[in-house]
Amino acid sequence: MKIAKPDTYFWQGNEACAEAAIIAGCRFFAGYPITPASEIAEHLAKRLPHVGGIAIQMEDEMASLGAVIGASWTGNKAMTATSGPGFSLMQEFIGYAFMTETPCVIVNVQRVGPSTGQATKCGQGDVMQARWGTHGDYSAIVLSPNSIQEMFTLTIKAFNLAEKYRMPVILLSDEIVAHMREKITIPLKKSIEIINRKSPRPGQKAFFGSEEVPPMPAVGEGFNVVVTGSTHDEYGIRSTANPVVHRRLVERLNNKIQNHADEIADFDSYNVDECQIGIVSYGCTSRAIYEAVEKAEKKGIGTGYIRLKTLWPFPEKTIRKLAESADKIIVPEMNLRQIFYEVERAANGLAQTISLNKIGGGELITPEELLAKIREVGKEK
């Protein structure tokens, strides 16, 4: 089998991610074993050779992302997959990929932290690390799938965004979504949008500026490209003391994402305009909202939700719209209030924000627990 045929399958999340990567055009994977992400490496090690690609296990997570970045500069799409401890090690190269405008996809299948934490159990504690983990002024694109189908669609989307904006994109999955099995439908190839990076014209020299997203050459094509993680001008030449060059570069790198935050924002919503209680949720936790909302409405509590597929850039406008109609917004998370404060900031006093948190042991927030919270803070008619 070259690429997965359009059909209905019963796949694990990590498997859906790996097959989606191949469909998106990924031809290089480098990784280091870690629970609960290893199935992505195992699946791609088996599958990439079928499409002429390469998968290699490196000596650590730093080397893994380093090899991915090298591969990307050969003009190929490349990815790695890890979990919290490995994601911490990758922060160095995430900043490098941002600074050098290297498209690549980093999958973080979240488990319970800090540190080694509970390796086999689900958590959502890396939300802030995914946004702020590396040093310096930077912006991140972080996607959050909540089903096997979405592991598929958001993996393709991650590659598309990486290629479009020339930057590392993080697929922030979690142990539940990565390990469970569900029905998944692979659509017809022609209905799947695939974006490829913009290549330079012969003779072009500015690969790091003069337009919002500059064209990206590959090594070995005669462009004599100079790639550096140090501050550089539009030709890639290091400029380690000039404030103007630094501002121009780093402001452009941030603006190319922030100016397109609305386009990048991806979410599902229900009853946002007319709810008393709003829920903002993402990832595995958001799997509880459907049943809870249905039952709350049966009790006469007008309830709506926003299910975030893009965590960063944070879709503030969307949240503000919910805060305009809802009296209260509940933010259930398997961490100690990481998105909560973002919601509170976006709501800006228009609605009261209430957190619902659970950490450890991989225990999910159940629909019953969410319903209990809705009933506790909402008014039944």
Binding site: M1, R27, F28, A30, P49, H50, G52, I54, I56, M58, E59, D60, M62, A63, S64, L65, G66, A67, V68, I69, G70, A71, S72, W73, T74, N76, A78, E92, F93, Y96, V219, G220, G222, F223, N224, V225, V226, V227, T228, G229, S230, G236, I237, R238
Partner: protein, 277 residues
């Protein structure tokens, strides 16, 4: 052959940041002379990778070529991704001792183990020069540095022997006082396949030499010349005498299937299997 030749044709017209007397100038000119003697009109058949430190600035941005200047110690992983997907390109890594066998040591060992088809040229100045002269894993025992003000209480690493033990196909060590031998060595390495490692003992008069009693770069070169011994001469030396000497020469030259060869063979077989089914 070199009468009307200037290495400038390979270099961008930029001011070089290296201190007067730095050994890096010798490494740059020797490498580029070798490229010229091998018939390279330009450097388009190469990709250069380097990490952080003075030596990492050898190719980036000075060489008119594709060059990737990576985070500290991570040039070899980036070179891995490039070489695996563009095996026809000559991937050359430049780095200092701190970069290659300090922070990047694990990548160095693993690249030699898997016989990644690259040439690593390590400029060993025995110190962290760019940051002002801190102790390195290669600093001689008892040497005073800014972070070992009472003398270094650790023993230095023998990177060349480590490369041999890890599986490298070609390993040599020279000093900046051996530019002819270094040129022959680079030439030989560029013609070979597999993991190739050349260590160049180099003078850092600014952050090392003057702190350990050398007046200038010339004195350091004299020290290199006077203390360099061949691999054969080093046999049977006491540990104490050995520590004072610089062993130069070719440590190994061998043929092993490279990572590119074993990987592509495996993939081709896998694809044949797919076609059969």
């Amino acid at each position: 052959m070199t009468e009307n030749f200037s290495i400038r044709k390979y270099l961008r017209d930029l001011k070089m940041p290296f201190c007067p007397g730095c050994g890096i100038f010798t490494v740059i000119s020797t490498f580029l002379k070798t490229a010229h003697e091998l018939g390279h009109e330009d450097l388009s058949k190469f990709v250069f990778c380097s990490g952080i430190g003075c030596s990492a600035w050898i190719p980036s941005p000075h060489f008119i070529a594709d060059s990737i200047h990576t985070p500290h110690g991570r040039s070899i992983p980036v070179a891995t991704g490039i070489k695996l997907l563009r095996p026809e390109l000559g991937v050359v890594v430049f780095g200092g001792d701190g970069d290659i066998v300090g922070i990047g040591l694990s990548h160095f060992i693993h690249a030699a183990r898997r016989n990644l088809d690259i040439l690593v040229i390590m400029v060993n100045n025995m110190i962290y020069g760019m940051t002002g002269g801190q102790v390195a894993p290669t600093t001689p025992f008892k040497a005073k540095t800014t972070t070992t003000p009472y003398g270094n209480f650790e023993y230095p690493l023998d990177a060349a022997r480590l490369a041999v033990a890890s599986g490298a196909c070609y390993v040599s060590r020279w000093t900046t006082a051996h530019s002819d031998e270094l040129k022959d060595s680079i030439k030989r390495a560029l013609k070979m396949q597999g993991f190739r490692f050349i260590e160049v003992i180099s003078q850092c008069p600014t952050a090392f030499g003057r702190r350990v009693g050398f007046k200038d770069a010339g004195e350091m070169l004299k020290w290199f010349k006077e203390n360099a011994i061949s691999i054969k001469q080093a046999e049977g030396l006491s540990e104490e005498d050995f520590a004072r000497k610089i062993v130069v020469g070719e440590f190994i030259q061998r043929r092993r299937p490279t990572l590119i060869e074993t990987m592509h063979k495996t993939i081709e077989e896998a694809q044949k299997e797919v076609e059969k089914n």
